[in-house]
Symmetry: C2
Subunit: 348 residues, 2 copies
């Protein structure tokens, strides 16, 4: 069922069918209706590859996955979902590209083979060769996150510096003096992940400003690592009374570590950080945190990309978000007495 078939049955030429469909040239009512009837009868839909070949637009955007690869956090899930939905609203499909496995190969697929009109990158690093590469190739891309040269690029990002600082101030206001910072995994920090770096930065500076005693940690993206990390924290400085985490996936483990150590949240120990709302609400007590507006960010990224695709030479645009801290139940004033060493409510 190709356009030629439709043309034949409607008794017109192929170009007339095309114009009837696209509206790029006038077509009389009679013929348009005749064509439409045939199309409806046969359930005809124009072939996407042929169309893409002819006009150079695939109406597909590439969503480039984390270079991390081994697994995904809940935040990433929210990004993916919102990007897909926003793209659908603009009549774009989304092609997933795992930049983790074999970056060059999948980039070649996306760009070299022209599978997509533009790309959205996740998990940006401060020095990100993927971004440099796309920039050099003048390929339309939007980052979720900022590189170290944010002016060059199109992006939507979270102000992790401000967010981490806000967490520090919140804790300092509650009287906490010894605070730990739980970052993403060592490997990602080394690789230059922007959220990990800027978050650490914001934390460190704000803590210095408030004269806090701090220790910073990296922690694997899973619950067992979180638990282990918490044990290290209390081992290194048992007088720690609060922590700030950027590590969503470790959150459950951190809580477990606290429970095992007999520290009650928030009575003996306060926890806060930067986490998507959905995950902040799954732990008990619910996490007081700067909620990552993942859905909004995905939508914004698509909007920027579509805008860029529509006018290829527009100057870079960006959007920096800094959501406020949502007060829930995991932080409180520092206790006046030293924390008890073990609660009654601990598992064996």
């Amino acid at each position: 069922m190709n356009i030629g078939e439709i043309a034949k049955r409607a008794g017109v030429s192929r170009s007339t069918v095309s114009y009837a469909l696209s509206g790029k040239r006038p077509v009389s009512n009679d013929t348009r209706e005749k064509i439409q009837r045939v199309i409806d009868d046969l359930g005809y839909r124009p072939n996407a590859s042929a169309r893409a070949l002819a006009n150079g637009r695939t109406r597909t955007i590439g969503l480039v996955f984390p270079p991390a690869g081994d697994h995904y956090t809940g935040m990433q899930l929210d990004f993916i979902g919102s990007v897909v939905e926003a793209a659908a609203a603009y009549d774009y499909d989304v092609l997933l590209s795992p930049s983790g496995v074999d970056r060059d190969r999948s980039f070649q697929r996306l760009l070299g083979e022209r599978r997509v009109d533009g790309a959205i990158l996740m998990e940006i690093r401060l020095q990100d060769d993927r971004v440099d590469h796309l920039l050099a190739a003048h390929f339309p891309a939007v980052c979720i996150g900022r590189t170290a040269q944010p002016e060059r690029d199109w992006w939507v990002g979270l102000d992790h510096t401000v967010l981490a600082a806000a967490c520090v101030h919140h804790l300092a206001d509650l009287g906490h003096r010894r605070v730990a910072f739980v970052n993403r995994p060592e490997r990602l920090l080394r690789a230059g992940y922007e959220s990990a770096h800027r978050g650490l930065d914001g934390f460190t500076k704000a803590a210095a400003e408030r004269g806090l005693t701090v220790r910073t940690y990296t922690c694997g993206d899973d619950a067992p690592s979180g638990q282990a990390c918490l044990e290290r924290i209390l081992h290194d400085d048992p007088a720690t009374t609060a922590l700030v985490t950027l590590n969503e996936a470790a959150l459950g483990g951190l809580y477990r570590g606290l429970a095992h150590a007999g520290r009650h949240v928030p009575r003996d120990f306060s926890v806060t950080g930067v986490v998507a709302a959905r995950w902040a609400e799954t732990v008990t007590p619910q996490l007081t945190a700067a909620d990552v507006p993942a859905a909004q960010m995905g939508r914004l990224a698509v909007e920027l990309l579509v805008e860029r695709l529509d006018q290829p030479d527009a100057p870079p645009r960006h959007q920096l978000l800094a959501p406020p801290i949502s007060l829930r139940a995991s932080t409180g004033p520092v206790g006046t007495v030293a924390p008890v060493s073990a609660g009654s409510d601990v598992n064996a």
Copy 2:
């Protein structure tokens, strides 16, 4: 940089370049090397749309998203990640299609416009018109989950009946007599979600077999709903001592509800269910559960689909998995005394 350009610079015809690349006809070593040099110099990559148009294969598979839409569970994330990676290994891209928003439209995009060679469907319902539709169209598809007529289709699925029954037996063996079942949301059950139905079935039958007193509930896919659900459970029958859940996203809320009610897990109350390992490990105490092998299922689905694409007329194949229960820390023998009405460790 198209194939004609390469041909010109290498001093051969376009078809020779094509054959040098595909190997479908012999090409002399000399010319092959000459061509390869030009290709390397120019960084040429064949255009995917043109190729797809010419040979009818897009080398893309569609991943059809839940009809549920409003948000995604962790299990789905694992499916997506593993499907993308497995597909990459077979040199396929993955196109995401939100069947939730406007099912017909996105199906038309995938199938009618020939954007993909085949599809993987998630969140199958017992009567699933998407599956019927694909079957009628002879479109190569593989389901993650089973319809009510599993013989017709290609699928990889979890034996929720057996899994739910295993949970019941596990609890019964520990002496529990009054058990609640926490299912996916009402809406999904009504829509005929297979996991919800077969899970409920397995639970009910096994409970009858063991002579247990049970109540079954549906519960929204989020923590607050889980908490509310647990309150209902204890309100309806305060003597309940255990629950089985299929609802991963509600898990955190169920735990919170228990904590608020002063029921200690697993001393006063046992919790088990069917949940992906990663999420079973984030709660404290860690959940004893039948671990959903999401990564393996995604990989298997891709393998089946690739097989089906390679030989279009093969008879349906399927794979039914029933992972064993992983013993962690959330279940235990039923207490000999009635549970205390409130603990000392509850938040205000």
